[in-house]
Symmetry: C2
């Protein structure tokens, strides 16, 4: 669990990265950047920062901000409410990100699985995204991603987000944000 | 109808605006920027430039580029294929845009309806968007928008785009791109 000071510091750092990339946020958006440590309490290695622009019952758009080497751990978006699971398109805006999906595994993956969590990373088909690069992840497909050493900013365009339905491979993960204030 | 030289010039101009705003496109995306004069052959006044990042059967994301004073004329997205019409969220990234939707009309609208087309602009509730500002247009609601004097870049997040179904108030308009080469 993160302290409020850790959350505040991560928000400032993410806001600075977005501003440096020319992405303008409102003051309210900056103050409410979501800092997701996924319950592991190890934000520098595992987690990400998010700005959700809109999430309707039809579509969703977010910016994902990742610090250098930060990893969003392996998960999938299962079918919910009688419909297919979330489908999402990642478009890299700044930095570099390695995305892993099912398929032929990379012989030498460029990302490093966080030490101690090796059992919870199972897909290793590698897609490297740099600015202008994009990739669409089908509904219900396992995926995980890690920023390069300088971090990354990724726009996510998708169907409706229902984070509480996400299924992570690591059973220790909790998606709902929690803050120890 | 536009000549290929006019299309090429508009593509270069839109690509330059996107680059200046820090939005990175691939070479293929730059070469294929959609230049929509909507059949009126008066691109400087009526039309817009578009980059469609993704358009699936669930969601769509585009960048809309508008030159200074350019107007996207009044239209709506009706129900199609047994589903509701397109719902869309505009987020201003650069410049300034005035968006008009149904509701209390502005006493002195900041945009100017293109001369000779006054009959085809009927909604005048004004929303001004500058970088970081956004607005969601409900399905089937009439809307039109005009860039400020320096132009605008607007990210559009939406449900599936089916441009061929759009209904424009001006019966002279054709949505499908046409080029006189």
């Amino acid at each position: 669990m993160l302290t409020q000071a850790q959350v505040d510091a991560a928000r400032r750092r993410a806001a600075d990265m977005l501003a440096a990339a020319g992405i303008v946020l409102t003051e309210a958006e900056r103050a409410n950047i979501e800092v997701a440590d996924l319950g592991l309490g190890d934000l520098e290695r595992t987690g990400l920062e998010l700005v959700t622009y809109v999430n309707t019952d039809r579509y969703c758009a977010k910016e994902l901000v990742m610090f250098g080497g930060q990893t969003c751990p392996e998960h999938r978006h299962p079918p919910v409410a009688g419909g297919p699971g979330k489908m999402e398109t990642f478009r890299c805006r700044w930095g570099r990100v390695w995305l892993y999906v099912p398929g032929e595994p990379a012989a030498s993956p460029k990302a490093r699985v966080p030490a101690g969590s090796e059992d919870y990373y199972t897909v290793f088909h590698e897609i490297e995204l740099t600015p202008g690069g994009q990739y669409t992840i089908p509904s219900n497909a396992l995926h995980w991603f890690q920023a390069g050493p300088d971090g990354a900013i990724v726009s996510e365009f998708s169907s409706t987000s229902r984070d509480e339905s996400d299924i992570f491979t690591d059973p220790r993960i909790r998606r709902a944000p929690e803050v120890d204030s």
